[in-house]
């Protein structure tokens, strides 16, 4: 049961085997994490996303969809929740494909509780990191969105390494005007230095301009 006030990370468990599902749930709870268990992939996929840091414990073999299918569906849905796959012995092809697709960890049965919790911890840490990164990016985008068109243009030239005079020349405006816009950019973006701004531009995926 998830309370809105509860901010503990959530571990989603999808396994059609009730024993394993229930045991994993208990293990997750024993680590002071929240557990959400599902018997089928569809049930899980139909669920609204959560804000809390989370990960997915996913059985590779499910009656309705395979683990790889679930992974693909999540990617398609821009759901980057880390996945810890649970698999039987020797399913190497599946493992390779899953890892390539971004799986955090592969656990093989019989499950060892330490491994499970460690994998969950890693996955949640990763999710937390991703979430922080995403939150930061979203903040930068908001700042970037507050720039005027001219300011945005000037920022692109700045992070590309052009001097004010060169920018003025490119844009056909005065060097002084460039300086003013540049000051606005630095302030609006909250950048302390040019290096900060360059890093921000990379996070925002801005392409450097070449004169």
């Amino acid at each position: 049961v998830t309370h809105p006030s509860d901010t503990r990370p959530i571990v989603f468990i999808v396994d059609d085997d009730p024993s394993v599902r229930e045991a994993l749930g208990r293990l997750v709870r024993s680590a002071d994490l929240r557990a959400e268990a599902f018997a089928s992939a569809e049930e899980f996929l139909g669920l609204a996303r959560t804000d809390a840091p989370s990960c997915l414990l996913l059985d590779v073999r499910l009656p309705d969809l395979s683990g790889l299918d679930v992974q693909r569906r999540m990617v398609d849905a821009n759901n980057d929740m880390p996945i810890v796959f649970i698999t039987g012995h020797g399913d190497i092809p599946t493992t390779v494909r899953a890892m390539k697709a971004g799986a955090v960890e592969f656990l093989t049965k019989p499950l060892v509780d330490g491994d499970v919790l460690e994998s969950i911890r890693q996955a949640i840490a990763r999710d937390r990191a991703v979430r922080e990164h995403q939150a930061e990016t979203a903040h930068l985008r908001t700042r970037r969105a507050s720039l005027t068109a001219r300011e945005g243009e000037i920022m692109a030239w700045v992070v590309s390494g052009l001097l004010n005079k060169q920018i003025a020349g490119e844009l056909g405006i005065s060097e002084e005007t460039v300086k003013v816009h540049r000051g606005h950019v630095m302030r609006k973006m909250g950048a302390g230095s040019l290096a900060d701004l360059v890093r921000m531009s990379e996070r925002l995926g801005m392409h450097r301009k070449h004169a």
Binding site: D16, D17, S19, V20, E22, A23, L24, R26, L27, R29, S30, A31, R61, L62, P63, S66, G88, H89, K109, P110, L111, V112, D113, G114, V116
Partner: protein, 768 residues
């Protein structure tokens, strides 16, 4: 002493003639010599005498002396002397006669007996004639004739007449004389009696005709008339009607003769042949009856003379052989006898005649139109009062049908006996009490007994103890339903104690002394052994196949065990963590421990199922709930189904009869079909992979199980081989699954087959 009147007359006249001639001779004594007289008297056996009035014989002729056997030299005896010679019975009469002649001067004619001095009696006739002169009697002269010979003749004649009359009376034969010219007829006493006329009646032709039967009268008249004309011998027979209406048959024979006067005379005999006629009629009637009988009865009759030659054959036999009587008589019958039978018949016939004993012999005789038929000949002798055989009679009876029936019976008997004795099948005949009445040699030999040891034994006694009850039941049922065969298997114990398996087929049949049970018994020990070996081989193969299947399922089975084990381990660690934390969560720990217990059970259940399936169990049939069996298999194959990403669904009928089966083998069949179904859906991507196992009642005690997949279906070209051993379409398959499943189902008395679905896929189903 009386004499026949005619003869008397005759003799008297002769005597008188003689006497007168004597007198004449005396009168002419002077002219005739004494010699002639004497000689004449001697020749005539006649003497003469003269008695004077004084009562003395004046004269005795020499012949008279000779007649009396007296000596003439002694002179004529005196009267007293003479009377002394007369027979005592006649002496009184003679004394009186002489006294009368002497005193009265009367004559006499008297016959009397005298006795000669040598004791010989003679009959003598005296005839005396008185001599008288002037009315004074001067004596009597007379003759004396020795009539002894005549007297004897007369007596003989009288006796013969009496004999004749008696003979006529006894033979019912009368005699007659008939003179046609005068019409005189003389009848004997018996003739009167035959015609029933008083013998005072004068017989005439009319009187005869009066008695003749009207139907014969004309003929009689004609015969008589012809005889009187042509004077020839005649003989005829006719009937008489007596006054009381009775009818007599007479046979008349007459010979013609001509009497001294030259006129025609018939002398003949009339025989009353009524009795003979009646006898003859009766004989003729009897003969006709006999002949009819002979021709009617289905037996031919032949008689032979003592020498064996045939002298009579009944018509029936002639009709049969198609020969004339002449051809058969004597020894002609031999040519109708079958060549092979002729010698035995002749030998037997000769022996019978030699011994004078009756004979029974069978022989074939040829029918008129060709084929021979068998006959029984019974020959018996006919003997006269002296015991001499005068004839042989043979009755010939057709026994062809009997012979054929006998031959057929013998043949069938032989066939049956052949089967009974030589067939390599044990046969027992058992009475309603269960006692062995008969056993064939093979049966005794198979059981190691002598036949005599088994006869009289209890049939159940040679069965193994546990089988006796069911065999007793079966035999009782046979006896209840006569003629209805029953079959069963049982174990028999040989004399040496070894046991053989037999299949017995029995049937009770009614017999005069109560029903009998015929049991044909086949030794199936080898068959049983082979069946057992086959069953064992199949069980082994099934086991191998099961283990192989389990091996193929190893991954999914391992998964099935891993799941609960993972659950156990994880739960256990979770519980530990809940306990070791700063504030132990006991609720979680309790729930965790419950889950551990449950998952542990679950793991051991999976292992138990695997172990059960991997066990090399003896086939052991028990009443099964097929739904249980299916449930267990579905649980076991859950992992496989998941791996095949298929859904297994069951539609199990709520109430099913329990079926007799081997649990492990039934599970194997369901498992095989389930795995086959999963495999069939391997390539399916465009529709749900669903496998449905369905049960339903097939009959009162039968169940049908259907396993329906939604797979790719069966290639029709491959379908016929699908149940063959080692036939497979799977890369890693051994090809034993369906083959073994089918043999298991068939061992359970069921059937396994496949039908394509209306939609995609195939349904495999079996009954049990």
């Amino acid at each position: 002493m009386t004499m026949n009147d005619d003869e008397d007359e005759l003799l008297r006249s002769v005597a008188l003639k003689n006497a007168s001639s004597i007198l004449i001779a005396r009168q002419r004594a002077e002219q005739r010599s004494e010699f002639y007289l004497t000689e004449g008297q001697r020749l005539a056996h006649m003497g003469s005498w003269a008695l004077n009035a004084a009562g003395f014989f004046d004269y005795w002729s020499p012949e008279l002396f000779r007649i009396h056997g007296l000596d003439p030299a002694l002179g004529a005896p005196d009267l007293k002397e003479y009377l002394g010679r007369v027979h005592t019975q006649d002496r009184q009469v003679m004394t009186e006669t002489i006294e009368k002649m002497r005193c009265d001067g009367s004559g006499c004619d008297v016959k009397h007996r005298i006795v000669r001095p040598d004791g010989e009696p003679r009959y003598v006739r005296w005839v005396g004639v008185p001599l008288s002169d002037a009315a004074a009697s001067t004596g009597v002269v007379g003759i004396a004739m020795d009539v002894t010979e005549q007297e004897h003749l007369a007596q003989e004649l009288r006796r013969r007449e009496a004999f004749l009359a008696e003979a006529q009376r006894l033979s019912h034969t009368g005699s007659f004389g008939w003179s046609p010219s005068t019409g005189d007829i003389v009848w004997s006493e018996e003739t009167f009696r035959i015609f029933q006329y008083d013998h005072t009646t004068k017989p005439t032709i009319e009187r005869v005709l009066q008695r003749v039967h009207p139907a014969d009268a004309a003929l009689v008249k004609q015969t008589v008339e012809r005889a009187s004309q042509d004077g020839k011998d005649f003989e005829h027979e006719y009937r008489l009607v007596m006054p009381d209406g009775s009818v007599k048959h007479v046979h008349v024979v007459a010979h013609s003769a001509v009497d001294g006067a030259g006129s025609l005379e018939f002398v003949g005999a009339v025989m009353d042949v009524t009795a003979a006629k009646r006898a003859e009629d009766r004989i003729r009637h009897n003969e006709r009856e006999l002949r009819t009988t002979l021709d009617t009865i289905p037996t031919s009759v032949v008689s032979t003379l003592p020498d064996g030659s045939v002298d009579f054959v009944s018509q029936r036999w002639l009709d049969y052989v198609g020969c004339s009587r002449e051809e058969i008589l004597g020894w002609g019958w031999m040519k109708t006898t079958h060549p092979d039978d002729l010698d035995p018949v002749l030998n037997g016939w000769q022996a019978a005649r030699a011994a004078g004993e009756s004979l029974e012999i069978e022989a074939r005789f040829r029918q008129a139109d060709g084929p021979y038929r068998w006959f029984m000949n019974r020959v018996v002798p006919l003997r006269d009062d002296n015991g001499t055989i005068v004839k042989w009679y043979a009755a010939i009876h057709d026994i062809e049908d009997r012979k054929r029936a006998e031959a057929r019976l013998r043949e069938s008997e032989e066939q049956w006996r052949d089967v009974f004795e030589n067939n390599p099948t044990m046969y027992f005949i058992v009475d309603s009490g269960g006692t062995v009445v008969a056993v064939n040699p093979y049966g005794a030999e198979q059981l190691g007994y002598e036949m005599a040891e088994l006869v009289g034994q209890e049939v159940l006694g040679i069965l193994q103890e546990p089988d006796r009850e069911s065999v007793r039941d079966n035999v009782a049922r046979c006896l209840k339903q006569l003629g209805l065969p029953r079959s069963w298997e049982a174990r028999k114990v040989r004399k040496d104690g070894t046991v053989i398996w037999v299949r017995e087929t029995a049937k009770a049949v009614p017999r005069a002394n109560g029903p009998l049970v015929l049991i044909a018994c086949e030794n199936i020990t080898e068959q049983k052994r082979a069946e057992e070996a086959l069953r064992q081989a199949q069980a082994d193969l099934a086991h191998v196949s099961r283990v192989t299947t389990l091996g193929e399922m190893a991954a999914s089975i391992a998964h099935e065990v891993d799941q609960p084990l993972s659950g156990v381990v994880i739960n256990a660690n979770a519980c530990l963590r809940f306990l070791t934390g700063p504030s132990p969560n006991l609720d979680e720990v309790r729930d965790g421990l419950h889950a551990i217990a449950r998952d542990g059970r679950r793991a051991s259940e999976v292992i138990a199922r695997i172990r059960a399936l991997a066990r090399r169990a003896q086939t052991d049939k028990e009443p099964l709930d097929i739904n249980d069996v299916i449930g267990e298999v579905v649980a076991l194959a859950e992992g496989e189904a998941r791996r095949a990403r298929a859904r297994v669904r069951t539609e199990l009928a709520a109430t099913l009869p329990r079926v007799l089966g081997d649990r492990v083998q039934m599970q194997q069949v369901v498992l095989n079909l389930l795995l086959n179904g999963l495999d069939a859906m391997h390539d399916v991507v465009d529709r749900p992979r669903e496998l449905v196992i369905r049960t339903e009642r097939e009959a009162a005690d039968r169940v049908r199980v259907a396993v329906r997949d939604s797979g790719s279906g069966i290639d029709p070209q491959r379908a016929p081989r699908m149940f063959d051993a080692f036939y497979t379409t799977k890369p890693g398959g051994m090809g034993m699954g369906l083959s073994i499943s089918r043999s298991i189902v068939e061992q359970h008395g069921g059937r396994l087959w496949a039908v394509p679905n209306e939609g995609p896929g195939t349904t495999f189903q079996f009954t049990v």
